[in-house]
């Protein structure tokens, strides 16, 4: 028998309360109203406004910059377009030929423009590309597509970034900066933007007038065009020549305070500019890269094992309890193989980061470029992969999620 403790003021009443607990519970339930349960919750409703699972979009206007560069203006047909942070992207679900693929496109309109009900994206033709020629040649006013909510983290974050951002853009990598510049002008973002925008010649510059208008309206935004293949113009016109070097960055960057560098452009530009940033001793916290999308020809990446390029392998795909066999090419990601086979797989960033396509590799070997390893530690240990950046090196069996 347990030793009796001195418990002040307690006695049989408390003991009875325990033995009566089930009755008390029944009484409390009986006393409660049988009115219909709450099914709408304000926090969840705000969440769906911010993070819709999908948005039905319709092209309502097309702005042709050149035959190879067009801006598509979308309105959302199933609600208000979700607000976003300048620099974010939409993952578009695009039916093309017999298959459906996804592509991430930076939003180049401003967050404030969602109040007018629109998003804009700009598409530039990539000659050997699959999707950009299709869009440019086929989309018309009235074309309907599905997109994700706004995604991605290539945005200005005052909790982390310096007050001044040096934007380094190459080619169509300019699009998120148009949104950021506009957001600064609109007072949505509070930062200074000095944009170093690399183009080959003046005729390759996108949004020149748009940027000029923003600069005129807002002293916090400055744009410098850096031309690699042209000698026309000079710094007084906002034009520099050559590449975006440490020297050039130093010329425009603040001297008395830290600054952040945001890069968006092709891989070659990252390789070059990252080296220049190293010379400047800029710490990691102040350098941000936008993702550059899927890698083609993985055999060109250091670390790729010999004798796999151009091979075709057999892949067993388990999805929703069904098993399918598909072919996969060593030069293409597993995600592409799934899309080619018509298996609807979720994917957004297509760069290894967002993890939306996370799948389990049951058997087989894959190549994953080490610098785009975005997986969780446990996933690496347990054999989960991101198909968008995994390339087959043998016959495979995977368990893929449904889209």
């Amino acid at each position: 028998m347990a030793e009796k403790l001195q418990l002040k003021g307690l006695g049989q009443k408390e003991v009875d309360a325990f033995f009566n607990l089930i009755n008390t519970r029944h009484e409390k339930i009986a006393e409660a109203p049988a009115t219909p349960l709450q099914t709408k919750f304000p926090v969840n409703e705000l969440m769906r406004k911010l993070h819709p699972i999908s948005q039905a979009l319709e092209v309502c206007e097309i702005i042709e910059h050149t035959p190879d560069v067009k801006t598509y203006v979308f309105k959302r047909t199933d609600g208000e377009p979700a607000y976003f942070r300048a620099g974010q992207y939409l993952s578009l679900v695009i039916p093309v030929a017999n298959v459906t693929v996804t592509r991430p496109y930076s939003i180049c309109s401003t967050p404030s423009e969602t109040k007018n009900g629109i998003y804009k994206i700009t598409v530039k033709r990539v000659d050997d590309g699959f999707i950009s020629p299709f869009i440019l040649d086929n989309w018309t006013v009235g074309t309907q597509i599905t997109s994700s909510g706004p995604l991605g983290r290539f945005y200005y974050e005052p909790m982390r970034d310096a007050k001044t951002v040096i934007g380094v853009a190459g080619g169509s990598g300019i699009t998120p900066f148009l949104s950021l510049a506009g957001a600064i002008r609109d007072g949505v973002e509070d930062a200074n933007l000095i944009l170093l925008y690399g183009s080959r010649t003046e005729s390759d510059i996108l949004f020149r007038d748009e940027f000029k208008a923003i600069e005129q309206a807002c002293p916090k935004v400055k744009v410098v065009h850096v031309l690699s293949d042209s000698t026309s113009g000079d710094p007084t016109d906002g034009i520099e020549h050559g590449f975006i070097t440490a020297e050039l960055i130093q010329k425009y960057a603040p001297t008395d305070e830290p600054y952040s560098v945001f890069l968006c452009g092709p891989q070659q530009m990252y390789n070059f500019v990252d080296g220049e940033l190293q010379k400047l001793g800029i710490i990691r916290k102040y350098i941000r890269h936008e993702l550059f999308g899927e890698i083609k020809n993985p055999q060109n990446i250091p670390g790729y094992p010999e004798d796999h390029a151009n091979q075709t392998y057999r892949m067993t795909v388990r999805n929703l309890g069904e098993t399918t066999q598909v072919d996969c090419n060593a030069n293409e990601s597993i995600l592409v193989a799934l899309e080619r086979a018509g298996i609807a797989t979720p994917a957004h960033c297509r760069s290894g980061e967002c993890g939306f396509c996370r799948s389990r590799l049951v058997t087989g070997d894959v190549f994953i470029p080490s610098d785009i390893e975005g997986r969780r530690l446990a996933d690496i240990a347990l054999g989960f992969i991101h198909p968008c950046c995994s390339y087959p090196l043998s016959d495979l069996e995977i368990i893929a999620p449904p889209r």
């Binding site: 347990a2 009796k4 408390e14 339930i29 969840n44 990691r284 996370r358 530690l377 999620p401």
Partner: protein, 507 residues
Amino acid sequence: MAKSYDVVVIGAGNGGLVAGLTAALNGLKVLVVEQHNLPGGAASSFVRGRFEFEPAIHEMSRVGTKEEPGQLRSMMDALGINIDWVRVPEAYHLVVKSEGIDEEMPFGVKEFIEKMEYYHPGSAGKMQEFIALCIESLKAFGYLQGVRDKYDRAYLEENFPNFLQVATLTIDEVFEAVGLPEDVRINLSTYWSYLGLSTDKEDFMLFCPMLMGYLTNGAYVPPMRSHEVSAKMEKRIVDAGGEIWFNTLVEKIIMEDGHVAGVVTNRGEVRAKEVIANCSPHVVFGSMLDPKYVPEDEIRLANARHYDFSVSIVYLGLNKSMEELGIKDYTVFFQDYVDNAKAFDSLKKRDNNHNVVSTCLNAAVQGASPEGTCMIALTIGALEDSWSDIEPEDYVKVKNQFALQAIETFEDATGCKIQDAIEEFEMATPVTLSRYMYTPQGNIYGYLMYGWDGILSRGLTIEEDNNRVPGLKFAGAHGYMGMGFSSSYFSGNLIANMSIEAIKEGK
């Protein structure tokens, strides 16, 4: 033809995963359906730059050592989930700056009492009595878990006379009955936020097993974040012949002849003998089940309950080490008030909510982030609608302002300046949690759990609560053991065993 399973589990949260795994390991055909693209619900992780953050867990109780395993380690071992659990260095560190309170408490019953005596001389005797009461209550709790409402009254009266007096009391009432000094009560109440309710209302019987679990078994974390536990369970469910369908939504529960017969998902209809819901009864009875099958008592029960709190969490990847920043502790509880009922009320609004719990994972897991860096998470409770009155365009600003308030609270109380070292910043609010966990109001703790709906009451009535709709049972935070990782894991295991039994008996 619709696919057919023995058990369909709605939701791959902690409770759902263990339920699915338990059933699959028992040879049943199992399908776990999950809306998100990851397993685990709160037990997850996310990568930002060179950091992988733990989103939720501060510490897990009842793990214990390999030699002296706690209930959770034993259960995970039995399920074949092998984790190299890492022990957290200290129990807790309480800082109430306004009152000059700064107390650090160790694990180990003896050590705990000694440290309390060090801070509050003369307290050891009363602390011994209090711990004796806890030990007896814990034994009684164990007995009741086994027999539920079929307890032997005489046995209880003979063996657990002190427990019977405190079984339905609040934490504060027990402190008072034992005669603990005020300053000891303040220290002992530190864990209140892990319970979801202040000590003036919360049951002593929710507090006691948690405190004793921590003191006797220590506290642990999985080395690769809680996603490690979830991903290992995901893998093992599938290897045991089960299936998990991600990105899949259960729309309806199908009833036939007064018994659950399956579910309708956005992928089609699925047949099942048993359905285990690892989600809110509000959702199940409000949206999934045809009103004509919803027992009136379920509606009344749900209406009688209140959602417990959600949280906001500020995640910081810092480009300096703990040593460089002067950070010493794994967990620190910062409170504005010694009166935690006041602190609880302050969670109803965002402004001046300085009730922050900080964790620095690097203090427990060596190499949790790269050399010369560390990670901090600052957690702040959020009650009711404190995060829904925001326009989408103001959301980021509101979030950042709130984050800054939490960071300043941390800096102010510890003297560690961290703002300039922020290399990665992420913040979750109740809105974020509702996005990834799909819970009403982004709540993480299910319903408030006390008094008539406390852990004893839910435990005694577990069978009737899981049998009002034949074939439909509940696991996870909304279930009989309530909130927290360990509790959700245990409830998943027990509920699955009830389903296994029901299927064997052909019910």
